[in-house]
Amino acid sequence: MSFFGFGQSADIDIVLSDAETRKKAEHKSEDGRKDKYFLFYDGETVSGKVNVTLKYPGKRLEHNGVKIEFIGQIELYYDRGNHHEFVSLVKDLARPGELTQSQTFDFEFTHVEKPYESYTGQNVKLRYFLRATVSRRMNDISKELDIVVHTLSTYPELNSSIKMEVGIEDCLHIEFEYNKSKYHLKDVIVGKIYFLLVRIKIKHMEIDIIKRETTGTGPNVYHENDTIAKYEIMDGAPVRGESIPIRLFLAGYEMTPTMRDINKKFSVRYYLNLVLIDEEERRYFKQQEITLWRKGDIVRKSMSHQAAIASQRFEGSSNPERSKSQHAEDEDTS
């Protein structure tokens, strides 16, 4: 029998089975702080133990069941009450009863589908987490453990360059070219700006990377633009026939892969903005979307077999046979 104020309570602790070996990834939280979380890929198994430690040893803890959930959800900041769960798995660990002493429960969610990458943005958050709950009549005791999911891709089969002639009639004609339309997060943008006609007095030229986060649907669509990078590529006045090279290393900037219409709730897209500024501070610009994708690291022996399979799930050409033999090669060289 528990009396008001002297009731038994418990602390819950979730420990992953591969906590020693699993890699962690940095992820920025809503308030801007960077924390490290265990990194998972699509298809990997999530397993571990739930430790329920009684606060007052010797006293019983009556409960309505102990369970653990694996949840993937999208939270729109303007609509905090409604969480959109796109992955929801549950395992019952104990039927309603009582705990007479601290106890540990094993759990395993096998080959969990994690279709989207974890994302914390200006108006929306997509997160994955484990939640262990000891249900009680009056108030549940629960504990959450956040994880981070990365979605991997490989070199796309089709990756055409972007080449276009733009301008203002009789004033400014340029031809811009970027070597690819799809770049991975550690890639380099190689390009050039070729001047065909220059009748204005240009002072300098820069290329900006703009991240656009789109939330909402229909008439309530909201775009949040954020300039991730500003990179000056030319200082001075160009003339006809001049070519200005572009070499922009993406690894130095904090970016995510392009996310299109995630669960029909939000998108995160990236644009290159070429800006020319004249002597009277007038700005002439041309925006062009690029697709960003995340490249998987080289498959190493120490990675779990699940992760090896998971990193093979990508768009474009893949040869599971080749990767398996590489895996075998790593073992042989040891």
């Binding site: 004033c171 050039k192 006809r240 002597e279 498959v299």
Partner: protein
């Protein structure tokens, strides 16, 4: 998966530049000067005019060199026309200085040398900003102001294309 570790960052192929283009006169030559203020008239009918001299190689201007005289109210007219006819955000003119036109001032009011110099500079800045604007260059009023003998306030607004 290991093969493509280092990205190819070599420059893209570019056509070599024509030497005439590289060393010849640039296609964006446009110089406007506002100078030589002159006060004309007598008594209360006096006003100051300024010389507006233009030199250019832009094809949109009919004359490659021109020189006209304009007074402050002509600049006001131009500003109003551009605001109405074009989508340009027109920069401000130097002040109207109505207070200088009041009587019993210790100085020469609107004919004071330092005031005229300040105004001259402001007018020059204004014209340089405006005349280089690709959209303003399409307005008939700008060309009339810069290159016609006199400003015809009864003109018909229209767009100017390549001369």
């Amino acid at each position: 998966m290991a093969a493509d570790a280092i990205a190819d960052t070599r420059r893209l192929f570019t056509k070599p530049q024509n030497l005439n283009d590289a060393y010849g006169p640039p296609s964006n030559f446009l110089e406007i000067d506002v100078s030589n203020p002159e006060t004309v008239g007598v008594g209360r009918g006096r006003y100051t005019t300024y010389e507006v001299r233009l030199k250019t190689n832009l094809p949109i201007f009919k004359l490659k060199e021109s020189c006209v005289r304009r007074r402050y109210s002509d600049f006001e007219w131009l500003r109003a026309e551009l605001e109405r006819e074009s989508k340009v955000v027109v920069p401000p003119l130097p002040g109207k200085a109505l207070f200088r036109q009041l009587p019993f001032r210790g100085d020469d009011g609107i004919f004071d040398d330092s005031f005229i110099e300040e105004r001259r500079q402001g007018l020059e800045q204004f014209l340089n900003k405006v005349a280089g604007h690709p959209l303003a260059q399409n307005e008939r009023c700008l060309h009339m102001f810069l290159q016609d003998e006199s400003v015809d306030k009864n003109y018909t607004p229209s767009k100017v294309r390549q001369a």
